[in-house]
Symmetry: C2
Subunit: 386 residues, 2 copies
C-alpha cells in the first residue's frame, strides 16, 4: 500500500478511485476534528460563543492566506451548494435577465439557478460547450456565444463535475470584467487540486470546498465575495449576525458566519488540513497525480472504444478523468464495479452521455488503475459495454 | 457529583446552569456520534449516498415516534433557525399581510421574519404580552388582540428563550384553526423538556431541537410540516432532491433532506439519544427538574428584589427560570459569575428587561443553586444589583 494511504481512514479493501465526490480526511486532521468536538462538549457555551468564534477567525485567516484573499472577504459555509444558494437567493434578477452558464455544470447548481430564475422570469442559459473540446479558443467562442445584453452574471465551474474538465475561468473573468458582467465561480473541486490565487483570478464570487481536495472533514467549504459586491448578499440563514446588535468591523462575516447552533468543528480543522498538505509537499503530490490521471486517459478510452472529451493536457485536466462510456446498463456497471471488483468509482450522466470518472489522489498507485483496467476488461467480455 | 453528571463531557469545575442555550450530550450518545463519523470516513461514498441515507430514515422514524407524527412529515435540519428560515423564505406573503407573533420571541427569529416581511411590505407583529403574566386567559387575550383580517400566519414559541416561559400554543393552534390562520411553532426548547405530541398539538409547522433537551450532539433538529402544507415549502438550500430525477414517495424529504455534502452524523444519533432518555426514565427526571426550577424561583427573585414574570406553576414554567434583574452592568455581572464563581448562566435582555436564566437538567443538584445563591449574595454586597 502507498504509505500515504495508511494516513487515511479509508477501507483498505476498496480501490478508491472516487476522491472527487466527497474527498477523504487523513487521520491527523480527523483527530483535530474530533478533539474540537470534545472541546465543544466540555464547555458548550464558551466554545460556541467565544473560543470557537476565535478559532473560526484563525481558520479563516489560514484559509485566506492559502487561497490569497483578505480573510474578511471569505466565510465558511457547509458546502459549495450552500455558498451558491446564498448568492442565487440574493442576486437581484429581473424578468428577462440571464445567468450565463454552461451545459457542463453540477446538477444541484442547475436546479438552484433554475429555481431562482424561474421565480422572476429570468433565464438560466446552459450554453452548449462542444465536446470534445478542441482548444481553449473554440471553447471560449462557444461560451461567449451565449452572452447577450441581458447577461447579468456568469456562473461557471472551474473544474466540472461529471466531465472532470478544467474550464478557462481566468480568461472568462477577464472578459466578463470588460463586459461588466458579474462572475460567480464554482470552485468546488479546486482548492489543493489546482493552485488557487483569488486576487489573481479576480472573480466577484467564488466557492470552494475544503472537504474535497483540501482534505478537511465533510461540511467545510467557503464562500468568497469581493468586498464591493458584499452589500447585496443576504445570508441564506438569517440569524443574530444579520443587522446585529453588536456588529463587528466586517458585516459580511456577521451576516454569514452566524447560522444558529451547529457543530462547526469541521471549519476549525482547516489550519490542520493546510499543515498536512504542506508537510507532505502536496503541490508536488498533486502534480504527480495529474500526470498519472492524464497519462492513463488514452489507455482507458481505448479500452471502451471512446475518445477523450478534451485535449489530454494540464490546460483541461487535473486529478480526474472522465472516460466517456456507452453501456446498455450504466447503473449495473457501477454496481458490478463496486460489489464484484471492490472499486469505488462514479458512473455519471450528463447531456445523455455516460462517464466513468476516476480520481487520482496521492494515496493512489499505478496498481489501482491496473485493478480498474482488469475489471473493465472482464466487464467488456460480459458485453456490458456497447 | 450527581451520578448522571459523570455521563456528560461537561467541565466538572463549572456549575453548569445553562443547559438551555446549547444543551449537552452524554458520552454514550457522543460516542455513537463520533463512530458514525469514522464510518463516514471509512467509505465516504457508500455512507453519504447509501448507508447514511438509510440511517437518516431510521432516525426520522425514531424521532417521529418520539414526537408522534408521520416520519415523512418531518425532516432533520441543523437547527431550529434553519427550519424557520425555510418556512419564512417560502411562505407567500403579500403587501399588508401580517405574521402575528409576540414580543417574547428569539431575536434571530425576529430578524428572520422582519427580513422576509420587509421584502414585500408585510408586517411582523410582535404583539405585546403583558408581564408578569396573570393567567392563561389574559395572555391569550393579549395575544389575540394582535390578530386582524390580514393575519396570514402565527409564529410563536412554545417555550420562550430569554424569559423561559411556556406559552399556551395548544389553545392558540385550536383558535387559529377556527380563524383559518397558519400556525408555525418554534419548539426549540421543547423535545424532552415537555411531553410533545404533534398530532395532538396539531400545528401546521413545528420546529424542535434534538441538540438541546433531547441530548443529541449539536446541529441536530427537525422541521415538521403537516402534509397538506408541504407543497409550498421550498428547500432553504436547493440541491439534487429538488425536482429530483429519482423522486421517492415523499417529495418533502427529497426536497429538504438533500443539502449538499455534509457530515450528518448528528442526525443519526437521535435513536441513541432517545434510548438514553428512556433508559434513564427522563420523563421522571424532567418532572423533578421542573419541580426544582419552580420551587427555587421565589428564593432567587427575593434575593434580587424582583417578581417572577408568571405564576410559578407548570402551566408556565418548565426546567428554566428567568430571574428578572436590575443591574448597573449586566455584562460585568455575567463575566463575574463565570470567571470568579465558575457558574455558567446566561444574562439576557428583552424589551429592556434583563434576566438571569437558570436551567435545571438531571445532572444539576440543589447544591448548584446554592452555589448560585452564594455568588449572587456576594455580588449583591458589591452593589452590582440595583
Amino acid at each position: 500500500m502507498n504509505p500515504i494511504k495508511s494516513d487515511f481512514l479509508l477501507d483498505p479493501n476498496i480501490t478508491f478511485l472516487n476522491f472527487g465526490s466527497f474527498g477523504a480526511c487523513p487521520k491527523p486532521v480527523f483527530e483535530v476534528y474530533q478533539d474540537f468536538q470534545r472541546k465543544l462538549e466540555f464547555e458548550p457555551v464558551r466554545f460556541l460563543l467565544h473560543d470557537g468564534i476565535k478559532g473560526l477567525e484563525s481558520s479563516r485567516k489560514a484559509l485566506a492566506h492559502y487561497v490569497n484573499c483578505h480573510h474578511d472577504d471569505l466565510v465558511f459555509v457547509t458546502n459549495p451548494s450552500y455558498g451558491i444558494n446564498t448568492i442565487a437567493k440574493s442576486i437581484v434578477l429581473e424578468k428577462g435577465d440571464e445567468i450565463l452558464s454552461t451545459n457542463l455544470e453540477y446538477g444541484a447548481m442547475d436546479r438552484t439557478w433554475k429555481h431562482y430564475c424561474d421565480r422572476v422570469g429570468a433565464h438560466y442559459i446552459q450554453q452548449k460547450i462542444s465536446l470534445p473540446i478542441k482548444d481553449k479558443a473554440t471553447l471560449l467562442e462557444d461560451f461567449w456565444a451565449g452572452s447577450s445584453p441581458k447577461t447579468k452574471a456568469i456562473f461557471i465551474s472551474q473544474i466540472t463535475s461529471a466531465t472532470g474538465l478544467i474550464l478557462p475561468v481566468k480568461e472568462i473573468c477577464e472578459e466578463a470584467k470588460k463586459r461588466n458582467i458579474l462572475t460567480i465561480i464554482d470552485g468546488a473541486h479546486v482548492p489543493a487540486h489546482l493552485p488557487l490565487d483569488l486576487l489573481d483570478l479576480n472573480p466577484d464570487v467564488y466557492v470552494g470546498a475544503c472537504h474535497k481536495w483540501m482534505l478537511a472533514p465533510k461540511g467545510s467549504s467557503f464562500l468568497y465575495v469581493k468586498k464591493e459586491q458584499q452589500h447585496w448578499v443576504d445570508p441564506l440563514l438569517i440569524s443574530w449576525g444579520y443587522q446585529s446588535d453588536y456588529p463587528s468591523h466586517a458585516s459580511f462575516i456577521d451576516y454569514h458566519q452566524t447560522n444558529g447552533t451547529r457543530d462547526f468543528s469541521a471549519f476549525l480543522t482547516v489550519p490542520a488540513a493546510i499543515a498536512y498538505l504542506e508537510k507532505h509537499h502536496w503541490e508536488e503530490e498533486a502534480r504527480k497525480c495529474r500526470a498519472m490521471a492524464i497519462s492513463n486517459a488514452t489507455r482507458f478510452c481505448n479500452l471502451v472504444n471512446s475518445d477523450p472529451t478534451s485535449p489530454l493536457t494540464e490546460d483541461f485536466l487535473g486529478q480526474m478523468f472522465s472516460i466517456p462510456i456507452r453501456s446498455k446498463d450504466p447503473l449495473q456497471l457501477h454496481q458490478l464495479l463496486f460489489e464484484t471488483y471492490k472499486i469505488e468509482i462514479p458512473v455519471t450522466v450528463q447531456n445523455g452521455q455516460w462517464y466513468l470518472r476516476y480520481s487520482i489522489q496521492a494515496f493512489n498507485s499505478a496498481q489501482d488503475l491496473d485493478v480498474l483496467e482488469a475489471a473493465l476488461l472482464s466487464i467488456k467480455k460480459q458485453g456490458l459495454f456497447l
